[in-house]
Amino acid sequence: MSHAVPLERETVGVAGRGRSIEWLGVIALLAVIIAQLNGVLNSPPDRDMGHLQKIMYVHVPAAWNAFIAFFVVASASLLYLWKGQERHDLLAASAAEVGTLFTGLTLALGSIWGRPTWGVWWTWDPRLTSTAVLFLVFVGYLSLRSFVEDADRRAQWSAAVGLLGALNVPIVYMSVKWWRTLHQMQSSPSTVDPEYAVGLRTNGIAILLVLIYFIMKRYRAARIERMAEHVAERAALEGRTNG
């Protein structure tokens, strides 16, 4: 892939952004702590679920932000297929990794909520099943990236799988409307009691900050890794020419 910016300048540029990303990490960490403390300490127990309602403040933001991450994957994958620029492939891969983490957390937290509420850790409900499929598709995406050696081929295949995988997001979202079974309708500030809406919003925003921090940090690491490969290749080439 061609670089429009000289490698030395780009190396300094990407490496220099590290400190501002770390500041975002500190802000995101503080935001999560404050939002969770506020949610746990200040929201009253739910009439039906009691204090189990507080799991909503981690489960729902994890799910929302997984969807946002996969939207980034789909957008970056489309851009890669259109323009063929390496940075779009690296952004898609970074967002896919973080999205997979949040989907895994969504499943685990939902399972912890389901045991006392439904009496089972897992059931083949359409919402749970479609989320598990989404998770597995992106585990496959990450595996694909790890075993394809050729960078261009890896990027093209990943973009195709990333786009197809992200198509599953609307299915997950709509599953509770299309097949009304065990999982309740989507929890959002407009569907929950106003007493819980502020907690849900603030936790959603705090986890969004964490998502942005993780994607930016992963993307920066991927760019540095690629630069190290380019520098090593160039050094080997120059060594061969001089020798």
């Binding site: 190396t11 490496a15 590290g18 990490g25 999560v32 969770q36 746990v40 679920m49 009691g50 204090h51 189990l52 507080k54 799991i55 981690v58 489960h59 994890a62 973080v98 983490l101 895994g104 957390l105 685990a108 937290l109 912890i112 909520w113 045991r115 006392p116 964490v210 993780f214 940090k217 992963r218 920066r220 690491a221 991927a222 540095i224 890794e225 630069m227 190290a228 490969e229 520098v231 090593a232 160039r234 050094a235 080997a236 120059e238 060594g239 001089n242």
Partner: protein, 47 residues
């Protein structure tokens, strides 16, 4: 916090393990790729 107390605590613990675990992994990956870039740059200058 009587009913479901353990499940609520478990959920928050799992969330924090996930976030901190991934944060630590990212930190290690960044440190490793930075080291590789520094090594490659040094080799390039010496070539």
């Amino acid at each position: 916090m009587a009913d479901g107390n353990n499940f609520v605590i478990a959920a928050y613990v799992v969330m924090w393990i996930g976030l901190i675990g991934y944060g630590v992994r990212l930190h290690r990956v960044t440190r490793e790729v930075q080291r590789r870039l520094d090594d490659a740059s040094r080799d390039g200058r010496n070539a």
